[in-house]
């Protein structure tokens, strides 16, 4: 693990920009509830939420600047979660 990666510091400008992006996305989440999207509404909300959590993980939690093992471990955890939720849908979708 390089010490350089461990001590990466983000500029205020970048942090503020990401914060702004998160606010815009939050506003978007509220706005799409008013659009007539039907079942797509859930998918749209989930997509926006995924982008937001991606931003938080990559920048606020520094995952973009971490070494590979950390990313792999995060990936394993996410895949595990996806499997657990996905397999539950074998029940929920076909009940």
């Amino acid at each position: 693990m390089s010490t350089e990666a461990a001590h990466h510091i983000l500029s205020y400008r970048k942090l503020t920009a990401i914060w702004g992006a998160l606010l815009v996305l939050t506003a978007l989440t509220v706005l799409i509830t008013r659009a007539e999207l039907g079942a797509l509404k859930v998918w749209a909300a989930l997509a926006i939420a995924s982008v937001k959590s991606g931003l938080v993980i990559a920048f606020f939690m520094h995952m973009k600047y971490e070494s590979r093992p950390f990313r792999i471990i995060l990936f394993v955890a996410l895949v595990t979660l996806a499997i657990f939720i996905g397999f539950t849908f074998f029940d929920v979708l076909y009940r």
Partner: protein, 538 residues
Amino acid sequence: MSLPATSSDGFWSDTGKTGIASWIFSTDHKRIGLLYLYSVLGFFLVGVLLGVLLRLELMAPGRTIMGPQTYNATFTVHGVVMIFLFIIPSIPASFGNLVMPIQIGARDVAFPRLNLFSWWLYVIGAVIVLTALFTGGGPPDTGWTFYVPFSAKTGTNVSLAVLGVFVLGFSSILTGINFVTTIHRLRAEGMTWGRLPLFVWSLYATAWVQILATPIIAITLVLVFVERVVGTGLFDPSRGGDPIMFQHLFWIYSHPAVYIMILPAMGVISEIIPVFSRKPIFGYKMIAFSSLAIAAAGSVVWGHHMYTSGMSDTAILVFSFLTFIVAIPSAIKVFNWVSTLYKGSISLEAPMLFALSFVLLFSIGGLSGLVLGAAATDIHVHDTHFVVGHFHYVMFGGTGFAFFGALHYWLPKFYGRRYAEKPALVAWALMFVGFNIMYFTMQVLGIRGMPRRYYDYLPEFARLNLVATIGSWILVLGLIILLVNLFRGLFRGEAVGANPWGGATLEWSIPTPPPTENFEEDPVVTHGPYDFKGAGKP
């Protein structure tokens, strides 16, 4: 605590603290291992006592020694104590701590303070669970599974009990994190992944399950707590909730937890069988790989607990198929153990007898599991005594017997004295016979239709229930002899040298009892864990 026999007392002396503080505030993995060992043994005896009471109630039809409410509470507490306080921490936290760092050539685990903290969390969780028994509406009566909607409505003290289990979960997660880090970072020079003892491999697979699955039960139990306290309606259909969702969340953890319980036991068996056959293990790579395969495949089969719950037919099909896949790595292990025995120079001492009975009892339990894994047959025996017999074969006949084998195999190393062989054989024989009388009879009762979790039954089940209860007495008699003989031997028995069994793993290369930091100088590993020639004759 009386002192071991050898001139050097190893880790028993040489500590900065004195008295009880030298134990409960120690960061030495061996002391923490012994703390865990005595904690889990204590709760095991509580669980056994409750189990004996359950069998006594079922000895004859009608009310024998307790009424229905007491019976419900007794089997719930028996389950909670045995699962969360005994079997989940049993082998990994006690023998994992005692042996694993030495087996990989490390001086301690990666995070010794975290290790001590996880024991403290265990104690705190245990105290909370015990408090739940005597406060509020009395001991929980939901069964150890805490199924909603009953667990959300019952007046018994479920809230505090689930909170206790929540804390216990964190203890388990911390142990998992500690072991994964230790195995990755602290292996000695030459201790390649291909030279890791199979016990370490099994702990490694277990640790991942502990880390990835335990948070789910923690959150689920918090949801039950919230449901009870504020009534969120998450599991209440009249308010848009879904009770089956609870079963999914519960079993997403609790099925992998079965592998947290059995994998370390399989690791113990993989250590004992080659040593007592004087022969390298057959199929090292496949046994190591099958531990990971069981951990992975075992994490996606939880739905097989729910065939009769109202889950969709598609899900039943998928989970039934996946369940059968777990049989493959399990069978790989069994066949490899048996192949290791072939043409070995087998020495039938107590650890080996427990290991051999593990192979048989685990196989019976595993095969009866196939009856339950197939939806068509499961629907007939679901929630009968067949299920109770099945999981006791796997959990008690499997993990329990492996735990007793490990007690006989490894404790002499840490105490410097050993048990007497003859009483150990008598104890093993009684336990083996009593075990089969009790649980095989239960399986027959289940096939004939006797449901579980009722304090009474139809008159035609009376004779077999009496037989099962008598089996429980034989089993307990054997257990008493085992424990008396074992601990009498550890404190007053014959002294043992560094390598009483002729093992080739690293723990047998250091003095008995092990020194505080295990190794005088960092070891360099030059041979595999079952290379008895490379390790030299004892």
